[in-house]
């Protein structure tokens, strides 16, 4: 597995318990997180811009089929003079985000999905690593983020906007405790604070998307949908 993964792919794997094959967050929350990650990939690639809470297509084409489909839709809605706020886009992309990101991971031969029926109806979906080596790599993903968050004192912290986005998205969907469960002291949390502030200053669009994800994930706690 490459050290650098796309933001959404990384988030999917960080949220995955490689022992059980199930995600540690509920599907809707994960969906919002992945939706935010996919939009952030488009922003980082300069395929879209966030202008006053509205997504606008830019000139550079996305690099993969999933984000390309979102980009095409942004263009089509723009052409139809339909203006949707960021929350609407997040809610829309959320609906297929888990499946879309899974398909990308499957194409990279990282995970495969299995489904088993439950005794009283319904089914349990699991995402299993395709090999033991891949399983170890998947298990490393949250630790990789934790190492970066704990490494500021050695001037080795988070260097890229993609990793910063990943860190704040993990926080937005409640994965901070999972990532930093073995953290030594409060410094990684304070560093995460700083990353939030830095994104709000220098990468406002990314910060807005993460804030939108957090708002939707938090609001979902108030309803049973």
């Amino acid at each position: 597995m490459n050290e650098e993964l796309r933001v959404a792919d990384d988030l999917f794997l960080i949220a995955l318990d490689d022992r059980t094959g199930q995600h540690v967050v509920d599907a809707r929350t994960l969906g919002y997180g992945l939706a935010g990650a996919l939009l952030i990939e488009l922003l980082l690639n300069e395929s879209v811009r966030l202008v006053e809470d509205h997504l606008r297509p830019a000139d550079k084409l996305p690099e993969d089929a999933v984000t390309h489909r979102i980009f095409d839709l942004v263009k089509a809605e723009e052409a139809g003079r339909e203006r949707h706020g960021l929350a609407a886009w997040l809610k829309f992309v959320e609906k297929t985000a888990i499946d879309d990101v899974y398909m990308r991971l499957r194409q990279q031969r990282l995970v495969r999905r299995t489904e088993s029926r439950r005794l009283l109806g319904g089914s349990t979906v699991r995402y299993e690593p395709t090999s033991d080596v891949i399983a170890a790599s998947i298990g490393w993903r949250p630790q990789r983020l934790a190492v970066m968050l704990g490494a500021r004192r050695y001037e080795r912290g988070i260097k890229t906007a993609a990793d910063a986005a990943l860190a704040v998205l993990c926080h937005a969907i409640g994965l901070t405790q999972r990532v930093l469960k073995d953290a030594d002291g409060p410094e990684p949390y304070a560093y995460l604070d700083e990353i939030h502030r830095e994104l709000a200053r220098s990468f406002t669009s990314i910060y807005q998307v993460a804030a939108g994800v957090g708002e939707l994930a938090g609001s979902a706690t108030f309803t049973n949908r």
Binding site: A87, Y189, R225
Partner: protein, 505 residues
Amino acid sequence: MTAPGTHSVVSETLAADSIGSVSVAQFLLTTAAPMLVIVGVVGTGWAVTGVLAVPVGFAAVAGLLALFAIGYTAMARRIVNAGALYTYSAIGLGRPAGIAAGLLALLSYNTMQVGAYGMIGAVASSELQQYLGVSVPWYLCALLAWALVAILGSRKVEFTGKVLATLLAGEVLFVIAAGIAGLLHPAGGHVSFAALNPGNLFASDTGVVLSGVGAVLAIAWTAYIGFEQAPNYSEESKNPRRTVLYATFGSLGLMAAVYLFVPWAMSVSVGPDKIVAAAQEQSTELLFGVAAPLGDAAVLAGHLLLLTSVFAGLLALHNTCARYAYALGREGVLPRVMARTSLKTRAPIAGSIAQTITGLAAIALYAAMGWDPMVNMMFWLAAIGGVGILLLVTITSLAIVAYLIRNPAAAGLFTNVIAPVLSSIGLIAVCGLCLDNYTTLLGVDPDSPLGWIFPACYGIVIVAGLLWGFILRASRHPAYDQIGNGATVAPATVATAQPAMGGIR
């Protein structure tokens, strides 16, 4: 705006999955539990206050709430936020007021929820005796309900929309059918409108005019608790602006109609000169006596619907308490551990556990002390919690006035100023009546210390909330700026699991 001849995939997709006004109204009505109101609140209102025109009191409160709802829904259209009363208080009156409102909400909803355990315990115990000849103490029945609520609440399981709709429809149909049966069998052979005479609102068997009115209004107020939660669903709504508006007024209108018609019909069936005494003797069986002409099977169905109504209300209030604790924990007003959610179910697990422990402690206390589950637990705690929420809504009404004056909606002078100001004046007057006649509300002697102890608790909570807010502000605590933001991912400060050493504060 969409260009002609095109359609928006995004809009259509979101609309298909969003909930409409009817669904939201359903959720609101479940919390309000109309059957519980008719069986428990209305009868107790007659029994305690001795005022015949209790239905008029319900109508009066509905009118006041309709005025409140005008400004409330106008604010909800501007602020799409699940925190509702607490958030609006913070935005309108400032963060210290928001904290006070949040703490008051937590205390009041908890008190109401715990009180309902008394009702479900007493009713279940009575029905087991009546239909199965089995004698089970009320507290064992309450503990069973408590256990179910604890399990379902911690997993954020609520009744599905279809189950809710069916039970709710059954409740409403039963009470209306009982009312019609009562009208068709009037006492003395003629239909009396005495219970609808506003003049009779001011005549009380207690002999003190305003004390009866104040108590009736406080009791009537508790019947509508739940209608204020529509903004919680704004994020999930097809059209947040319209859904909150229609759901709020729709549920309020339906409740007002039922609470006016059915109690009046009950007074017609029993006789306006006998209804107070009958309520005192028959307690929760009063409605079922009126419904007797419907047949034994219908009455049995009614008893079962009462149990499901109370249970659904218990679960809804439990979840409300857990969510308030979550919101306050997330914004740093309460310890951040209260913001912990179950990753798997999204349930606000810490808040749920705290509320569960509160319920258990209350049931244990009442059982150990031998206090009456209906009078001392259900009615007293419902009255205490209800007045607390009345104060909360009053604070929110003032916040709405302040907000809409600063940020007027496009709707005009009546929406921005007149309705909110009138509702604030009305709510303050009702609060004053309730607090001034608290002993009548509780049904205790006028000299009882309970008449000032419970109101003092509200004062303590409000003052504590204000002080806490001022302390946070003065110490420039990072949590202060997040108050009223609702359940968002706040910048930096939320990331800290514990106060960071140094850094920007």
